[in-house]
Amino acid sequence: MAELFVYGIVLGCIISLGAIGITLVYGIVRMANFAHGEFMTAGAYIALLIVSVILPWLGVPDTTFGPLSFGWRMLIAFPVSMAAVAFIGIFFDRLLYKKLRLKNSNAVILAMSSLGVSFMIRMIILIITGPDYRFYRPGIMRPALQLPFGIKIRPDQIFIVALVVVLVVLLHLFLQRTKMGKAMRATADNTELALISGIDTEGIVMWTWGIGGGLAAAAGMLYGIDVQIHPGMGWNFLIPLFAAAILGGIGNMYGALVGGLVIGIAEQLSTAVLTPTYKLAVAFIIMILILFIKPEGIFGGSDK
């Protein structure tokens, strides 16, 4: 049980990264981004491309860092993939969503458009790599560490939690201490007033997609490191991501963090009684319960 709880934290960290992106986009751009799961998938695959094709071709060695299952290649691929997906997010916003915003399209049309984007991204990935499951390092076996209470955990998983903590702290500092970060919070609070104050809200939108996309890519890569990479992985995360964001209070980044952990832990604990394939359903049930009991989420509502 304790072991499942710990795995839940690992999974929860991954979900949190994605959920933070979803909640930022919802709060600032005011749309439900159904392509967010595919951002995760894209992040994982771009890293795969870099790690298994580009870097070997460039002659970067295939060493690993101590007990971790990855090394220099992944270290290089990670930020590059985050930046790439950040650009993908910004790209689709400028290409599609911005035009729809200018036409005053309602939230549903924007969501529908993002659904289309999600299928387009998935098809592009399938065209390039096909439907097989892959790993960053096929055949690698890493022994688990023994922790107290008989919990086995892999070094990779400790790294995942640590990295997520770092990313979240960085994001927190960005939002609380930098001018752009405050402007993002302001725009999420009151977009009209932000405009009135002279804030370049379209620029803020770009930053939001950039950060959301980057974090989603990170989540996808971490999942790929921990489990595996396959074209449907992001889609399977979509419900848990939204459940986490809604649980924490949509628009609230810290809520998404907590929500992600709760969903992750709940999903892993559920495997004690249900088949693991039902994890998604567990996230879904939690989401429905929250929408029924307290739709604004744990931290939601309002000082508005």
Binding site: R185, L193, S197, G198, D303, K304
Partner: protein
């Protein structure tokens, strides 16, 4: 010297124009009050000046520059600041952060300016780490005005600053407005509280049904019997 003028403005939110051929002007260092019944289009006029709405007809001129149809963030850069009636603070940001957002387009060091604003509103200095959403109505209104003032505007547009405030706070707010004016900012204020608005106005405009009805010096309007009967509650 006329610092801001609106000439022949017709504007609205849909195909129907709320404002029909409305004109108004603000001279340097003046307080101009715009009064009239609900739905007269007073807020719409301010929004047209600030660029939230595009006027269908007419011009807005700031000093000598035609700024009709400019977007709000451009108008702000020209030196006009606007305080909307509702939803006029960033609730989850602290007072300090609200003011910082007010200074967003400034590229210089605005610490001095912030100090001046805190001198104008000492309560805000005390509470500057508090979230704006947790403040009382009166304090929120001060934050809203402070945010707008961070830009050192030439003209300040206020939309019903006394709305929803207890009478004691109303006079505090109006005092603050006078203080702001003394620092050299011209002010155009839309108000339901016609009496108070006219008391401090150098010039007043009465709007009704989207048109100019009357305009005169503030004091003269106060003494005007028609105005008193219709708009000042007898």
């Amino acid at each position: 010297m006329t610092i801001l003028k609106a000439e022949g403005i017709s504007a609205g939110y849909t195909e129907l124009d709320i404002l029909q051929n409305v004109s108004m002007k603000v001279k340097s260092n003046q307080i101009v009050s715009i009064i009239g019944p609900n739905g007269a289009g007073k807020s719409t006029l301010l929004k047209s000046i600030f660029g939230i709405l595009n006027p269908r007809k007419g011009r807005i001129v700031l000093k000598d520059e035609d700024i009709t149809g400019l977007k709000p963030n451009k108008v702000a850069r020209k030196g006009i600041s606007y305080v909307p009636q509702v939803s006029n603070v960033f609730p989850s940001l602290t007072i300090q952060e609200n003011l910082e957002m007010g200074a967003f387009i400034r590229t210089d060091d605005f610490g001095g300016r912030m100090d001046e604003i805190y001198n104008l509103f000492p309560t805000l200095r005390e509470k500057r780490k508090q979230k704006a959403g947790q403040l009382s109505g009166g304090q929120r209104q001060m934050v809203a005005m402070g945010r707008a003032l961070m830009l050192d505007p030439i003209v300040l547009l206020l939309d019903e600053p006394s709305a929803g405030l207890a009478p004691l706070l109303v006079s505090t707010i109006f005092e603050k407005i006078l203080d702001i004016n003394k620092t050299g900012v011209s002010i155009a204020i839309v108000e339901q509280n016609a009496k108070e608005a006219l008391k401090m106005a150098d010039h007043g405009y009465v709007l009704a049904m989207g048109r100019n009805v009357l305009d005169d010096e503030g004091e003269s309007l106060l003494d005007n019997e028609e105005v008193a009967k219709l708009y000042l509650g007898g």
